[in-house]
Symmetry: C2
Subunit: 310 residues, 2 copies
DNA sequence: CCGATTTATCCATTATTTGGCACAATCATA
DNA sequence: TATGATTGTGCCAAATAATGGATAAATCGG
């Protein structure tokens, strides 16, 4: 291979340097000489034809071109790994890294904890967790598994139903003390609703009585947030009433910081699903985590078995 | 780098071998020894952990895993190239390969010819032409430029309007001799229409009289094809009447093999657009071809300037 | 303005890669 | 069926490239 040619190895060191902003520490990390790191970068830059890093003795930063090249390099290196994964399938030992995307609030409250437990059991499997409520293109982002609440629009992805997430109307005791406790659905109209801006149709609540009658009640309020944990904080702070997933507030209910209201009525549950890129479903470590999560999540309070056709 | 590590070079030789099905010719092509090719393949297979090629002395074929790995390798190598392109921008000399996707019939009749002329002028620029009427994901397929007719659904792509493609009602003289020549739109109802199965709304023709009145006439027939050239062949064979892009039949009209009918009425024109992946628009060779095509296509009979806001 | 820290350069050493050649396997043809 | 041409593989000495420690140069904070 030519002295100035693009190589995975050079690319890899470039990526590490870009991430750490420091050559010598990368040398240590990769177990190579520090002069080698310098040369790798020089050779890569020569091959690309553009300076990628602006280096001073104190700091190494990406140039504009460098940061674009970095983004592409990341993707390329991931693809290289995934290409091997795909043909290796379940043959290989369960090592490597699983990338998982999860809705933010659920991830903070539950998935992260489960992942720690998973790593306890399988220390050799790396985990790369990305918490966001945005719909991501799994393939493009290199994500193996995604946990999503609600209806799914994605096609071409394998799906595993984890169950239905029970929702409850909750508020803090202080709030209820001040504003009164609703006893019939229509009482809600005078109350302060905390709504989610990224959930469609949050202006109306569909309450179902124990008998079966449906009550559609308007749901208004001055606070609207786009993050479940913000809603949680608002609830604790007594800012209003919210329809909350039970997993979001279960600990607060147990601790008495929140109370459920209108217990005789129920809110529609929301499906909790796991999305898997079909090509990645065969990889040993992915399957392992898949099964682990499915099993563990079923045990979270408020997640009910759905009538699923598996 | 470890002896058994995945390398661009090994990957590249693997790809070439997979494509040619032969080690020694690849050795010649890449200017390396045959034994080197053998070793590269062995090392790659060892690194991946799966046999990729089944080799006999007479033939080298991809295993199942190999062909999947091949597809990924192609993509990776393309991304590596594109990563450099992106940061190099227009700085680099116009070399390399441009990938272009084009609707099938237009590609056969016009684009290919234009591309030959382009290569005449820029011999160092390689061209990779893919003819299909399916909508392709430009980014995923690594396509730089796409030529498409009709309305566009794609977002996030830069667009360059090339003009409006004039359409005409045509049929062969024999057909018209046997079945009669329509003189008013309603005459079409008794005729045999050749329709395109991949064009929506091909069951109705919207004819506009010179005066301005619109005539919606049903358009039926026993033959439906999914390829413009098949329609063209059917027209020549006297199988019926079709609304054809002028560029599809211009030569046949000039040669007298087809005739236009209902000349006092016009069919809605269809927009002809060039789609460009924004990240690729800065690359020297892509811009060169972009401008060349835009200029040349404007000269094709039946392509009229649209009222474009550029 | 100095000192500590970090990157670049140089060069002898080490490791790896290379390709020619002989050999083995395969297929076409007589 | 025998034979020859073609093709992939294994082996080895030679060539090539990669490596890292020591040194020099540069930078920034105080």
């Amino acid at each position: 291979m030519d002295k100035s040619d693009i190589t995975f190895e050079r690319m890899r060191t470039f990526v590490r340097v870009a991430e750490r902003g420091n050559l010598s520490s990368v040398a240590g990390e990769l177990g190579i000489g520090q002069s080698t790191v310098t040369r790798h970068l020089q050779e890569l830059e020569e091959a690309v034809g553009v300076p990628l890093l602006s280096r001073t003795t104190r700091r190494v930063t990406l140039t504009d071109e460098g940061s674009r090249y970095y983004a592409n390099s990341i993707q390329i290196l991931r693809l290289v790994e995934q290409a091997s994964d795909e043909v290796r399938g379940a043959l290989g030992a369960p090592t490597g890294t699983v990338r998982i995307s999860c809705t933010a609030a659920f991830g903070v409250l539950h998935t992260s904890r489960l992942l720690f437990a998973f790593q306890e059991r399988y220390p050799d499997i790396g985990i790369d967790l990305s918490l966001t409520d945005e719909r991501v293109d799994l393939v493009r982002e290199g994500v193996d598994i995604a946990l999503r609440l609600g209806p799914l629009t994605d096609s071409s992805l394998r799906l595993r139903a984890l169950g239905l997430s029970r929702r409850l109307l909750v508020a803090s005791p202080d709030y209820l003390a001040v504003r009164g406790r609703p006893v019939v659905p229509s009482d809600l109209s005078g109350h302060e609703g905390i709504r989610m801006s990224n959930v469609a149709g949050s202006e109306t609540l569909a309450l179902q009585a124990a008998g079966g009658e449906r009550h559609m009640v308007p749901f208004a309020g001055r606070l609207r947030v786009d993050h479940g944990l913000a809603a949680r904080a608002a609830l604790v702070a007594g800012r209003g009433i919210a329809p909350a997933h039970r997993w979001l507030v279960d600990d607060l209910l147990a601790a008495g910081q929140l109370e459920t209201i209108l217990d005789d009525y129920s809110l529609p549950s929301v499906a909790l699903n796991m999305l898997i890129v079909p090509e990645r479903a065969g990889v040993a470590r992915v399957r392992l985590l898949l099964d682990f999560l499915a099993e563990q999540i079923a045990g979270i309070p408020g997640i009910e078995k759905s009538i699923s056709r598996r």
